[in-house]
Symmetry: C2
Subunit: 234 residues, 2 copies
């Protein structure tokens, strides 16, 4: 099998610094984790918060700490640093080759999508962001690594796109339509969701938007691990 992960990420219109932070790290017992955080408000302050949370989480994951414990630790850190006044959402998507499972950790009111056998399941179990309370717990889902699985996680910039004009985006419906028509690559899923959101915001995103799509495919090709990064600069 092969796991493919794709990310598409854009800043709020007119703001040079995204409040969203995303990192991908290798897990010490095999596999990788994608860590996505969205700090309250936008710009430099939000960026500092989301970087602090992501740095804490990836540091702990690299030491072998389990995802749920890392999320709780990051929440306690943020609560202590900001006296409970600043929140930050967190999603962790891990390919854990030790347990052979995909582990999805979520401290984010925005839902996520899990697709199996072409059916999109919109996971919107209530979930609170980090940093507002002492006993904040993540919602954790675990599933086998199986070909055909598609996971999509995102920050609330995606779900809030178009609200200004009264046309909010129904993310799961858009994903279902894509899966019904074709067998899209994760990059196509992330790109199309982001493009849809930006068009609903009339080309001027009202918030930072980050989309991560993860897909498990039957293995094709070699044993080479690959990564690409594209960074537009002024």
């Amino acid at each position: 099998m092969e796991v493919q992960i794709a990310v598409a990420k854009v800043n709020k219109f007119g703001v040079s610094e995204s409040g969203d932070t995303l990192e991908v790290v290798e897990r010490p017992n095999g596999g990788v984790s994608v860590v996505l955080a969205d700090g309250q408000t936008s710009g430099r302050g939000a960026k500092a918060v989301s970087m602090m949370v992501v740095r804490k989480v990836i540091g702990l994951l690299a030491e072998g700490v389990r995802d749920g414990a890392a999320a709780r630790a990051a929440s306690d850190l943020l609560f202590t640093e900001k006296a409970g006044k600043v929140s930050c959402t967190l999603n962790i998507a891990s390919i854990d080759l030790h347990t052979n499972t995909i582990v999805l950790t979520r401290n984010n009111p925005a839902p996520m999508s899990i697709c199996r056998d072409g059916q999109v399941d919109c996971v919107s179990t209530e979930s609170v962001p980090l940093g507002n309370a002492r006993d904040t717990r993540p919602i954790i889902s675990e599933m086998d690594i199986q070909p055909g699985a598609v996971i999509v996680i995102y920050t609330d910039g995606l779900t809030h796109a178009g609200e200004r004009r009264g046309h909010p985006m129904d993310v799961c419906t858009v994903i279902q339509a894509m899966l019904d028509e074709q067998d899209p690559s994760p990059q196509a899923i992330a790109d199309e969701l982001l493009a849809h959101a930006v068009s609903l915001d009339e080309g001027r995103p009202a918030d930072d938007i980050s989309v991560v799509a993860l897909k498990v495919t039957p293995r094709m090709g070699d044993h080479v691990r690959r990564m690409t990064v594209r960074l537009p600069i002024e």
Copy 2:
């Protein structure tokens, strides 16, 4: 402009764990850094060493520490932990949007390639790995972020490929040939170098091999940051 970074990475034949560790992290003042380390020997012990070095470096970079200072700190950590008996190579390639430069930090006897205006410059200034001495210093090169620049860094698995059969690889010549014939994407450069090395090793890599190619292109397209990861699993 746009900066594109591509990575291709394969394990030593018959070894499930690579001694090479590579991470890409966002810089707090703008830009990204690619951090590549190769721990002495191979397998689990080498992996622990290269992960420790990379984790130290990315932790410091995320706090705004300069690349050279991060490399020295990682060397001191390794020297202290392993009493000077275990070495680890380190390369850092940073897109620093604060200074608008590409900063290349190298503690690695293996050379690296810097290409400008289609000419490949094989940078082989003497450079020692981390961890063997107290006063280990990196070699640092800095250049403007300019369209057409191509940087290739790699672990010694690439340069040692084929030595077993007496046909070692001349990396810079292979890169020059690619640039003379076409305008290859960074992924094509990384993939072709890796494929060349693996074929010299008759399909059974004698060492872990990691190749990073970085290219600056004139901007084409949107303001979206993108990343993809492909992870083959058993």
